[in-house]
């Protein structure tokens, strides 16, 4: 059996062939986000061009470095070590780029995003790219550089080094190390990882299990995907170390069905690690046994909740159950189990490799380390980045992310997934740490940050998240499945113009009731509504009392009409109407309101001739009454987290 040093030596040699290549090395970024923009076609085109023209270069793949807004990505490494990142390399641009970069050896050009290493005239280092500024890439250090399907690249980048070092430590020393580092769970609950491990360690029954929660169900969060597709080995390494610290010998990685590439890459990583003796029996000759199985989910959001995930693995419906007992006492098949998030486990090798003091250099005293965030919504640059804790959210969203589309103002920020809540615009001044978010009644959550501009209707947004919670409710407890249904119905009624003042009270009542659901899905389902009733009450009142939607989103409260002075200019709109609701009569167009479904296609095609107006006559309201009081006092937060 090879020792770590021997593996590292062989891996370094394999990596050097790519890192300091004999001839130019082209790496195309193959990841879910790149494939959406045709990265696979780009790779095929690169291979075809290289072969057809007999170019002196090698071609490989890599993961995504988070620059989703310039996909497809491609990098070239020259024999002198200079590496340049190119972006927006669509298949039709490949030939020109290769002609320039490989044949003529010109390294700059309009597609160059930045230099990853070395310097090139006219191309700034990637660290100076606006998206890269302020980032501290510890977890993503080699995402987009190494080939995620090649274990040698990962080992050369430092994977399994921490594990090899940790093998010499006792269980207590390892848990102390993780406690000293201050690492806490990145899945949303922010529970200290070391304490969680300690619970499992002291559990008496065996076998014990380590489960990696890769069911990144929160829509708008895609940080774990980036990690699994870009650098899967540290996750396995974290699991093995967790197994060593807690006495668990079996690990499961539960990956959601929507991430087929993650399933493939993690599965491959497991097989490669096993072949190298880094997984399985007697790991690196230390006597430690650890086995990892990959489970593919099947499209259920509640399986991201740890007890739901456990039921899903053990051959049944993914229904969460009441805690306690906590999984550390009764988890998979009733045996002691730890469920850790992908990002938590990926942090472990950093600590075992570099020590707790090193890890604490980033972030704050209470929240050491870095956190990955995915930016999406009404933002200029969609992507994944990694910043230390306590980085101002404003700089991340406005500088790295590029802020809102021109001419629009910020209305709300949606962090932490559908159950995380909605921050009002003034929340932009928060720093990225869990505590200030909690003060707003919002969860920082697993890393999604969605920006909403002033075209967003808050009632519609609440209805969306309420519908999502309803759709994904497992159906076990009436509080959750009935409560989310009722909440959605009330919000739909308000959107349709049938809102009543009593609905506000009903919403408060449901918010308070849902807190008593069995699991965190139901408990957190009303967070958005609760936040918005607090911060956007005026918008609810406008919908209910004035029967209008200020953002002109709610279909029941708007009407499309042809502007009378321009009613001859709506031909394009009439042609696109899916229900043929726009009728022409001697050159003049008018919308048949009975047929109109309010999809807005006509306004896109005839923006000059068609406008949106309020559908309902405005009721006469002399003065808005005071904000109604909730019918019941808010209960204490549910226990058991």
């Amino acid at each position: 059996m090879a020792s770590y040093a021997e593996l590292r030596k062989a891996a370094d040699a394999a990596w050097a062939a790519v890192d300091r290549p004999q001839r130019p090395y082209i790496a195309v970024s193959i990841a879910t986000c790149g494939n959406a923009w045709g990265a696979e076609q780009t790779l095929a085109r690169v291979r075809a061009v290289v072969q057809a023209r007999g170019l002196e270069c090698d071609v490989g793949v890599t993961g995504c470095n988070g620059l989703c807004f310039v996909e497809p990505l491609l990098s070239v490494t020259w024999p002198d070590g200079v590496r340049v990142q190119y972006g927006k390399v669509e298949p039709e641009r490949v030939e020109a780029l290769l002609e320039r970069a490989i044949v003529r050896g010109e390294r700059g050009g309009e597609l160059a995003v930045g230099t990853l290493r070395g310097s090139v005239a006219g191309v700034a280092p990637i660290e100076q790219h606006v998206f890269w500024r302020g980032q501290v890439r510890q977890l993503m250090a080699v995402c987009g550089i190494i080939d995620p399907e090649n274990i040698d690249h990962a080992i050369a980048a430092g994977a399994y080094q921490g594990m090899a070092r940790a093998l010499a430590l006792s269980q207590d020393e390892l848990i102390k190390l993780i406690l000293d580092s201050g690492l806490w769970g990145r899945g949303g609950a922010a529970f200290p990882a070391g304490r969680k491990w300690d619970f499992l360690k002291v559990a008496r029954r065996t076998p014990k299990y380590i489960v990696c929660n890769a069911d990144e169900g929160d829509p708008g969060a895609f940080v774990n995907r980036n990690l699994m597709e870009g650098d899967p080995h540290p996750i396995l390494e974290g699991m093995i170390t967790a197994g060593q610290a807690t006495g668990a010998e079996i690990g499961y990685i539960y990956i959601r069905d929507e991430y087929p590439l993650c399933v493939a890459r993690v599965q491959q990583a497991v097989e490669q690690a096993r072949a190298y003796g880094l997984l399985g029996e007697n790991i690196l000759g230390s006597g430690l046994n650890f086995e990892i199985r990959v489970v593919r989910g099947a499209g259920s959001y509640v399986c991201g909740e740890e007890t739901g995930l456990i039921s899903s693995i053990q051959d049944s419906r993914g229904m969460p159950r009441i805690k306690p007992p906590f999984p550390a006492n009764a988890g998979l098949w009733g045996l002691p189990t730890n469920v850790n998030n992908v990002e938590t486990l990926a942090n472990v090798p950093l600590i075992t490799r570099n020590g707790a003091d090193w890890y604490r250099q980033q972030g704050t005293e209470r929240n050491p380390g870095t956190k990955m965030f995915s930016l999406s919504g009404d933002i200029a640059r969609v992507g994944v980045l990694e910043v230390p804790f306590a980085t101002p959210m404003k700089s991340v969203l406005y500088e790295n992310g590029g802020g809102l589309p021109a001419g629009h103002a910020l209305k709300a920020i949606q962090p932490g997934g559908p159950l995380g809540g909605i921050l009002p615009a003034e929340g932009i001044n928060l720093v990225l740490e869990p505590e200030p978010f909690r003060a707003f009644g919002v969860l920082m959550g697993s890393g999604g940050l969605i920006l909403c501009d002033d075209t967003t209707c808050i009632v519609d947004l609440c209805q969306y998240f309420s519908w999502f919670a309803e759709d994904e409710s497992c159906g076990r407890c009436t509080t959750c499945h009935g409560g989310t249904q009722r909440m959605t119905e009330i919000l739909r009624r308000i959107q349709d113009g049938g809102g009543r003042m009593g609905d506000i009270n009903l919403l408060h009542l449901i918010v308070d009731t849902l807190r008593w659901s069995n699991c965190v899905h139901g408990q957190a389902a009303p967070t958005c509504v609760q936040n918005c009733l607090k911060n956007f009450m005026d918008e609810f009142l406008i919908h209910i009392q004035e029967r209008r939607c200020p953002a002109q989103v709610c279909r029941g409260l708007i009407r499309y009409e042809v502007i009378p002075e321009r009613d001859t200019e709506a031909a394009a709109g009439a042609a696109i109407c899916p229900t043929n609701a726009i009728k022409e009569s001697s050159g003049h167009y008018a919308i048949d309101q009975g047929l109109c479904i309010k999809c807005g296609a006509c306004k896109e095609r005839s923006p000059r001739a068609i406008r949106v107006v309020d559908a309902m006559p405005r009721p006469r309201v002399s003065a808005l009454p005071e904000q109604p009081l909730p019918l019941v006092a808010a209960p204490a937060p549910a226990a058991g987290h």
């Binding site: 986000c33 919504g377 969609v382 967003t456 969306y464 807005g600």
Partner: protein
């Protein structure tokens, strides 16, 4: 009771899986991968192999939104229900597909040529609002683009 050849095929597909190992999802995925759906008459075979009740297998099968028990449509439109798409008008795109094709979400046309399926956000939000047509992303859609796509599908075009 399925035809014996089909039965043997089920058994062949289920061969790698064992009871009490957490293999149910993998077994159902294997069946769905082979047939495009999980044939209902395979449920007793799964149950036998994994030593479960057939009702428990069906319970799990019907719990997950990605498993289906009927043959999939020839062409599938998966509509992204994510928040980034929603903020950019994704709901109108859903409405347009439903209206033009005359089918609801999770529905198929009577000839099973075209189906609509609710997809979950997979983080390609740069392309919002988007759909996946037979797995390929069609992103940055305007509502009018969706109308045109739906009309072309309805007219018999399949290569969008």
């Amino acid at each position: 009771m399925p035809d014996y050849k089909v039965l043997l095929r089920y058994r062949e597909l289920l061969a790698p899986f064992e009871a009490d190992q957490g293999d149910l999802l993998a077994a159902l995925h294997a069946l769905q991968h082979a047939f495009g759906y999980v044939p209902p008459d395979a449920i007793p075979e799964v149950a036998k192999k994994l030593r479960m009740n057939a009702s428990a297998v069906f319970g799990a099968l019907s719990f997950y939104s990605e498993f289906r028990t009927t043959p999939p449509p020839q062409n599938q439109i998966m509509w992204c229900s994510g928040p980034a798409c929603r903020l950019k008008g994704g709901d109108n795109i859903r409405l347009v597909f439903e209206t033009v094709l005359g089918i609801g979400m999770e529905g198929e046309t009577p000839d099973n040529e075209i189906g609509l399926h609710l997809g979950q956000c997979n983080g390609t939000c740069e392309a919002a609002p988007q759909i996946w047509y037979n797995g390929a992303v069609r992103g940055r859609l305007q509502v009018a683009d969706a109308v045109e796509l739906a009309r072309r599908l309805k007219a018999g075009e399949r290569d969008l």
